[in-house]
């Protein structure tokens, strides 16, 4: 593989494998399907995979309703075909693999190793990690040049911009392939360096932790914390509402990744966050986090 080969513009028939049918995996699948790309969605949990089809169908509707960025209803572009499997060896031909499993280094490393064994060398491997350095994950794949990070935000079918993380060993062809894929998905990439948490989560997760600590110490209520950020700073969502969208389990996992790699105590998950995760109050996806979402979902 050479840089020249990647520089030549070529039409690519994208077909995506998305690994992990959780909140982000189904969201990324929705984004791709809404842009007409076929997707094979993989998960080890049969029940999760069965629910994923309904979830994707609903999210496609939401993407259509909430703007042109997600679905393409009305533009004549059909929805891509969705396949599901529990067997990583049955991906078929794919132009890219997007890993979107739990934010645990050992889980991601295992899945990336298995995925890279299932596709030919030179196939783009994307990790949707929130915080784990790409060069660290690259240890688990035979062709580190194929791997890079694309940090989609939740919900990926509504947020147009992503962080694109280039690791020390990421090759030019992989970057070119990722930019081609993101263009097909209607996303804009901001290229950032490969440090724990990259840019968004290095800053955001610490802010969420501090915001939770403010509530824990009784300095302000969750409503008050977010009201200050939305009212005074004009943020669309405050830090705790944002944490509820991300999922508090993912927040704790990301903080742990950051703490372990930086030694910075500011990233140690505060007691209130840990309590909420232990109680199953994970945010929007469970109907309750720092705020209530009706209780039914």
């Amino acid at each position: 593989m050479t840089a020249q080969a990647a520089a030549a513009p070529r039409p690519v028939a994208h077909r995506l494998a998305v690994l992990g049918a959780g909140v982000m995996g189904t969201g990324i699948a929705t984004l791709a399907l809404g842009h007409g790309l076929p997707v094979v969605l993989v998960d080890v949990d049969r029940a999760v995979l069965a629910q994923a089809r309904d979830r994707v169908a609903g999210q496609l509707k939401l993407a259509t309703m909430l703007g042109p960025s997600g679905g393409r209803a009305g533009t004549g572009v059909g929805t891509g075909e969705l396949a599901t499997t529990m067997d990583l060896r049955r991906l078929g031909r794919v132009s890219a693999v997007v890993e979107s499993v739990t934010e645990r280094p050992e889980v991601k490393a295992g899945v990336l190793a298995a995925a890279s064994a299932a596709v030919p060398g030179g196939t783009l491997l994307v990790s949707n990690t929130s915080a784990i350095p790409i060069d660290e994950l690259a240890e688990s794949v035979p062709h580190p040049a194929d791997l890079l990070g694309v940090h989609f935000m939740n919900p990926p079918y509504l947020i147009r911009t992503v962080e694109l993380v280039r690791g020390r060993r990421t090759g030019d062809p992989a970057v070119a392939a990722a930019l081609s894929l993101l263009s097909a998905l209607g996303r804009e990439a901001v290229i950032v360096g490969d440090r724990p948490g990259f840019v968004v989560n290095r800053i955001l997760q610490r802010m969420v932790n501090e915001a939770a600590r403010v509530v824990e110490e009784g300095v302000a209520t969750a409503d008050a914390v977010d009201a200050v950020f939305t009212g005074c700073l004009g943020h669309r969502t405050g830090p705790l509402g944002t944490a509820d969208i991300i999922g508090l389990d993912n927040v704790v996992d990301s903080l742990t990744v950051l703490l372990d790699r930086t030694g910075d105590e500011g990233y140690r998950p505060c007691a209130l966050l840990l309590e909420k995760v232990a109680a199953g109050e994970l945010g929007r996806k469970t109907g309750r986090g720092f705020f209530e979402y009706g209780g039914a979902r």
Binding site: G58, K61, L62, M65, L66, A73, P155, R284, G294
Partner: protein, 91 residues
């Protein structure tokens, strides 16, 4: 079999169901003409729950050009949508 004379019109039943659903989910008494998104009562993400509720409660399918936020902005708009998708009903 004819309906009893005091039976509510079908669209009134839809309105009542939607008001009850919203009260349950938002714990707020909602008026049929209030802008649910504009008032900040629910976020636009809640639109998906409204779609799912309409489809499961009233046996309609919302798709294509009907997937517009304006169709879900008020209880009145949703009632009209259900009425239309049911083939006009009495609306």
């Amino acid at each position: 079999m004819s309906a009893p004379v005091h039976a509510p019109r079908p669209d009134e039943a839809v309105t009542r169901d939607l008001l009850a659903f919203l009260q349950r989910r938002t714990r707020t008494q909602v008026a049929a003409d209030v802008d649910l998104f504009g008032s900040g009562l629910v976020s636009s993400m809640f639109a998906l729950e409204l779609v799912v509720h309409l489809e499961t409660a009233f046996g309609v399918e919302v798709c294509g050009p009907d997937l517009r936020l304006d169709n879900f902005r008020t209880v009145e708009a949703m009632t009209a949508l259900v009425s239309r998708l049911r083939g006009g009903g009495d609306g």
